[in-house]
Symmetry: D2
Subunit: 397 residues, 4 copies
Amino acid sequence: MKKKIVLAYSGGLDTSYCIKYLTAEAGYEVHALTVDTGGFADDEIQEMEARALSLGAASYRREDVTESYYRECLRYLVYGNCLRYQTYPMSVSAERMFQAMSVARYAVAIDADGVAHGSTGAGNDQVRFDLAFELSGKTLEIITPIRDMQLSRQQEVDYLAQHGLVWPEKKGKYSINAGLWGTSVGGTETLTSHQNLPESAWPVPVTATGPREIDLHFAAGEFTGFDDQKFSSPVAAIKALEALAAPYGIGRDIHVGDTIIGIKGRVGFAAAAAMLIIKSHHLLEKHTLGKWQLFWKEQLANWYGMMLHEGQFLDPVMRDVEAFLESSQGTVNGTVHVTLHPHRFVLNGITSPNDLLGAGFGAYGEANEGWSGDDVRGFTKILSVPGRIRNSVNQQP
Amino acid sequence: MKKKIVLAYSGGLDTSYCIKYLTAEAGYEVHALTVDTGGFADDEIQEMEARALSLGAASYRREDVTESYYRECLRYLVYGNCLRYQTYPMSVSAERMFQAMSVARYAVAIDADGVAHGSTGAGNDQVRFDLAFELSGKTLEIITPIRDMQLSRQQEVDYLAQHGLVWPEKKGKYSINAGLWGTSVGGTETLTSHQNLPESAWPVPVTATGPREIDLHFAAGEFTGFDDQKFSSPVAAIKALEALAAPYGIGRDIHVGDTIIGIKGRVGFAAAAAMLIIKSHHLLEKHTLGKWQLFWKEQLANWYGMMLHEGQFLDPVMRDVEAFLESSQGTVNGTVHVTLHPHRFVLNGITSPNDLLGAGFGAYGEANEGWSGDDVRGFTKILSVPGRIRNSVNQQP
Amino acid sequence: MKKKIVLAYSGGLDTSYCIKYLTAEAGYEVHALTVDTGGFADDEIQEMEARALSLGAASYRREDVTESYYRECLRYLVYGNCLRYQTYPMSVSAERMFQAMSVARYAVAIDADGVAHGSTGAGNDQVRFDLAFELSGKTLEIITPIRDMQLSRQQEVDYLAQHGLVWPEKKGKYSINAGLWGTSVGGTETLTSHQNLPESAWPVPVTATGPREIDLHFAAGEFTGFDDQKFSSPVAAIKALEALAAPYGIGRDIHVGDTIIGIKGRVGFAAAAAMLIIKSHHLLEKHTLGKWQLFWKEQLANWYGMMLHEGQFLDPVMRDVEAFLESSQGTVNGTVHVTLHPHRFVLNGITSPNDLLGAGFGAYGEANEGWSGDDVRGFTKILSVPGRIRNSVNQQP
Amino acid sequence: MKKKIVLAYSGGLDTSYCIKYLTAEAGYEVHALTVDTGGFADDEIQEMEARALSLGAASYRREDVTESYYRECLRYLVYGNCLRYQTYPMSVSAERMFQAMSVARYAVAIDADGVAHGSTGAGNDQVRFDLAFELSGKTLEIITPIRDMQLSRQQEVDYLAQHGLVWPEKKGKYSINAGLWGTSVGGTETLTSHQNLPESAWPVPVTATGPREIDLHFAAGEFTGFDDQKFSSPVAAIKALEALAAPYGIGRDIHVGDTIIGIKGRVGFAAAAAMLIIKSHHLLEKHTLGKWQLFWKEQLANWYGMMLHEGQFLDPVMRDVEAFLESSQGTVNGTVHVTLHPHRFVLNGITSPNDLLGAGFGAYGEANEGWSGDDVRGFTKILSVPGRIRNSVNQQP
């Protein structure tokens, strides 16, 4: 009897190769699962289903986890203003982990013997998949043909051609990965250290012109929508914001970072909605949170993002950090006023019922109420005590 | 016999008022000292000297501390990629502290009885001055007429007019503060939470058009120059970069933050050179430093910037952080390739002899050398051990 | 009409002086409030009430906040294993803040015009009181006769004698402060840097002999009791443990630290229950929490303790840290086996349903299950990648 | 031609087995190297040499790295008051890394083809050895018979007996590992969670009685000696202190922690000198360093210890942390007064030219000079500003 396995199916060349290879050569019963985190259109899914089945998959299934992905993860990336190395919103990092966990759960649910993924041996995704599979609660065989055989793209195309599937010429030479929180773009230039991606590499061309005012709304730290539009959920609001802002070419950049396996990696990304939301949220927090909340949030969120990036979403410390972050968001309410321009945006300011600035305690640098010059004199006198003692004891300055 | 005091003289309305008031009404012998941290032209200084003496100062002196300010402080802000709340290069914060320390040293040197500054009671500068004065090593009277009398601008203008000095209409309604590391802009809109500064408020208008390629060079973490130009010192290189980049309107933003006295403050700034250097330096570090160096540098530099911002430059922990930062910079060598556009810049990539990316160990996501798929399999197997134990003990998931 | 004020009344010389002085000389209507955080016996309270009224207080009230003090604060000190500078359980720090907040609430409740405390100008308590009073939500006059007049003990005794109250010779020369979480002891030797307190200075003499086995029980991080005894609440269990363990002389030490006002301070303390509970809890956590939970708990709890020590309990970051700490405690269940000896205790081990040690995954250093030698080989191969790249690029070692 | 390998030879059963097995069965030319970090007496070394050669080693060598181990590593553990999970001085962790690095260097120096160690597959040491070998700068085969064959102790004894070496009955049933910084003890009880080691398991019995006063001296953070004795180096002073203090049974405890491979581990240790030095050094720092130095030292040293424990001594961040720690030690000078008792010690106090306590600025809680009550009043007024604003904006409390 054939071993039953679940394959994390993205519809791309690597995982399509896997279906054919694992059914035809390795003798597995392959159940293809596409876990949707906001990156697939319905017609793409139909196409993927047809391809999977034609390549020999015993079944095909799409699971849409976008809402739980948002609620259990993205939400905290917003609370934490998480940008890896101050740059990358970790679009793919977060998604891949949720896809891997869904595959693991499905494998357990259908009592599969193993799980397969199409990752190479040089990236982060292999670790995310392996880790999630190891922690499924069941001992699952982990099958990774691309990594194990170190196949080239051409070898895969040739193999599929031999089996009757002519793989279409790619539109371009870039590897693209789209999800709710952004799209990553890798290839040619990102394999160097010195070259930027050409305009043509980006998934959405810059077609917007002229400035556009936009108001982003937040309630208890969550992005709820923009302008006067109503949205059924933050997920819907994020998608609408992305559709609006992507043609401005906002949120494009290149991330250079440390991979889980220790090499440096470089990848482009376009994440208009993510960057607008994070930067707006951060500004709103500067007005509504205390200094030490901002201090610790930054450290903890930095760690949270790193752990998530490295496939450690299931570490229990992540739940504790989430509790901290959630606790901090009660006063993060209000609207952030932004202007979009081609290739950039400007945060003009905020309006918030919890704004701590200009709260009748005098304006910064102008006038003071609530304390006197003598109070500040006393304040600095006391602040200087440790230094005066040091000077006295250590004969300095 | 008159008490001898040193006044920190910026040439502005507040400190000009102080000269007249402290000599004419309060009976002090006032020695005006302008500490230059890269923000004054020679003709401005001449004008300030004439004004100070005409208002009654017993002496006038300019001290140029730009080089030591760079060497003892700015350099570390670059090593640390320091931006307060990820935004503000702390242009004024750093300068003011160095000005205050210079005034204190001068007061001790000429055996003054006291020191005076023109700060109001609502900002950060009063604390920086007071702290530096308290830590001079000598007990100095601290005289602060503007803070103590809570004078309005109009009261000061009227008083000076009564004494024969017609204060010129300000060019605009904004309070401007220029130094080597940037220019701050405060007034009208920055006193609200929701308004951005108008184009006219910025010190340098945007006149540059079209893209401009530029290469920034770094040696052991220090910015040494750009393109093929040679500079006598990093200070000279920074000034030249500022002159080149300011007309692009780069590095303009609004900082919202916590003041030392506990209120929130909001101030605009234009810091083209500072932002270009910091962002370029950070990118170079991502290629040349280890993951944990980047992690700890960020935390320590964040703290360093906060302490500096809050007038605590003399705290001994600052020397220890500097030692850490300096130790980390040995491999931060190379060139960062940047494109300037009006209102923005793009970091295209880097070239470095210490680049850890693509070092013959395989390219990220493409191919791997130096390890095998089985190595990664073992790696993730071990990484999963704590989670598997947790699942087993606590019956999850 | 007299101004109505609430005095934080401890029954000691300073606050007794305050009642007489503030009623007789300063013309206030003084309402004495003793806030009990577990440090007063009923007969002490009766004595204090009689003294307060005889000195002229308009009313006397005792408020027992021990339960809320435990629930809102001490509990988190246990979760966080909080010891200031790895030594001091912050017995007095925590109490004083809760006393100050209760006084402030009472002053608001009875619509008082002001609040008074008996702190000197050289310690931490004045700041804790002042801060809590400033944050009462009402503008209250803060009256501090001892601080303002810099009175000596003798001056106070003489003044009270003139008004008919002969202050009893103190039992000893030490200032003692008792509460649920420990007793502080200051005087003579603690005013030096080099002397330890003599045996006679400690509040409870060492009378226990021989070893005593004891089992401490924890549920979700809370200390619930010991051995087979049942307790109505953690507070009752703490009191019973203190009664049992104090005669062993356990938990005595001297804290040297930084005061809020910047001088160094030194104070003895005896805190048998607190030290036993914290050290036992910490050991239990080492068995039941993950590595990164332990890492971040330590940093956050260190901060939490410092802020509490410095009167910043009301800072909103404290609520966020509490959320983190609480989230982490779900698996901190079990029993810690301890042996008490005179002057010391030994943690023998733990028993826990959530023990992650020896969970069928092989014993440390002996045998391994759940992974192979080749897995570890792969693990370390990958762990070495960054170092091998560094060596290759930077030509080291 | 035989492959030439270097074996890290400790003289124990595992590595003795390795010599015989690797020469007789596997056909290697085995060069045995014992790296001494302060744990071997000369006669032990002679015995080890004889055994190694008789078992078939091609050569035997002892390398004494104690001084460099102290200078490059232990010194920083003192500066950092490093105790893993507040308990374990990481005696073995540090040594093993230095032994591994020495073996790697020797293998490169004699142009060996490989390196071998005798670690099992369940502990930390295998990772430390593997990592150091991978980072030798040369590609070396790593040979680990015990780990690969998962041999039991009995299998090894039998094998050696077949080859003519009767392995002596161990003195006891505990695995003992001695070095300059302490001795670890593992076996029977440490494999459980709830049992303590019996008295007989500890390497040095408690023979001292009665109290003993001792003065420990520090210069720029380094332990230089005690009482009136002169020492040629800190290493000599540490050894003398260990000899004096070990018979008091001081510094015995059980470490429970996270191993590098993710399981929890438990091990006893006796480290009299290490604990005395670290606790004394920490106390001296509380008197001589600033609050923020203490704060950051703790975080960084905690990390430093963890990384060292996990074999990451060669990570570049370690050099940066060392720079920080070294920078902080300039004022850590003076003498710590300690009393030794059987099973415990008491820190009585310190004497230091850099003592910041009682420096003429008033005594804690008693009297204040250098500031007034009004200064503190102003200080707390300003400290309360953020809270008052929060109350006002958010309508609390």
